[in-house]
């Protein structure tokens, strides 16, 4: 998805993991994935460069859909859809 498309996505839950480095953001994502329903979108905020690459890998393994990443000033917004 493009950055424009991602902006209009309805987010069920936002996880702010900017206060933690690898593997913190992934761990936060795992902890909160149970709180959203199938087909819902979760937004993960992270200041860790590795998260951009790690979340898609996690999605690939778990069968979730990785939607894309939007770069903000000093952090990233990573979007994924729960299977």
């Amino acid at each position: 998805m493009t950055a424009e498309e991602l902006k209009s996505v309805v987010v069920a839950r936002t996880i702010d993991a900017r206060g933690t480095a690898c593997p913190g953001p992934l761990l936060e994502a795992k902890k909160h994935i149970g709180s959203i329903g199938a087909g819902d979108v979760m937004e993960i905020l992270s200041a860790d460069e590795g998260t951009k690459v790690d979340i898609p890998k996690w999605c690939g393994k778990q069968g979730h859909e990785y939607l894309g990443t939007v770069e903000e000033n000093g952090y990233f917004k990573v979007y994924m859809k729960k299977k």
């Binding site: 206060g19 933690t20 480095a21 593997p23 913190g24 992934l26 778990q62």
Partner: protein, 186 residues
């Protein structure tokens, strides 16, 4: 008659293939086994980071601690009684717990680990202490090598309180690693 025989042979071959596929499917679990031998701070940190990432990805994790790494599992608040002279000496010379480990490089008489932990805090990396707490909550298993614990002169009574802690021998690691899709030695 010949046709029947051919069918029988094919039937047998299919059975054989089925068994092979079953073996392949059941052979390796989504499991990570690490034999942690090093007691260096950097190496124990690496082992814990990989383990937590794996557990976050729903991979079962089994950590087999032996030799020098056992010092990381000592609880500084516990004081076991009844050690012989050599055990006491080992106990004195080896780090008392995960917060006292040295770096494999740039240890600088203990300055290195202090600097690393300062940097970790600054860059929001979880502390080793926090990693063990998270690991416990994620169901990461710690298995202590009974034999090397004996060699190091450590006692069960001085090991940390951890939810999934058990004691075993090398065969347990071999069996666990054999069914794991990822095996590491640190």
């Amino acid at each position: 008659m010949e046709d029947n025989q051919r069918l029988d042979v094919q039937q047998l071959q299919i059975e054989e293939l089925k068994q092979k596929i079953e073996k392949l499917e059941n052979g390796r679990k989504d499991q990570l086994s690490i034999a942690i031998v090093s007691g260096d701070l950097d190496k124990v940190l690496a082992a814990m980071v990989i383990s937590i990432a794996a557990a976050a990805m729903d991979t079962q994790v089994k950590l087999f601690f032996s030799f020098w790494s056992l010092a990381a599992l000592r609880d500084p608040k516990k004081h076991p009684k009844g050690k012989d002279f050599i055990s006491k000496m080992f106990g004195l010379m080896l780090p008392k717990g995960k917060n006292k480990l040295s770096l494999s490089k740039m240890n600088m008489g203990g300055m290195g680990p202090k600097m690393i932990s300062m940097l970790m805090k600054k860059q929001n990396v979880m502390s080793l202490e926090k990693m063990f707490t998270e690991a416990g909550e994620l169901g990461i298993e710690i298995i202590i090598c009974e034999m090397s614990m004996g060699l190091m002169g450590f006692k069960r009574e001085e090991m940390i309180d951890y939810p999934n802690l058990s004691y075993a021998g090398a065969a347990t690691f071999v069996a666990d690693a054999g069914e794991s899709s990822i095996q590491l030695f640190i």
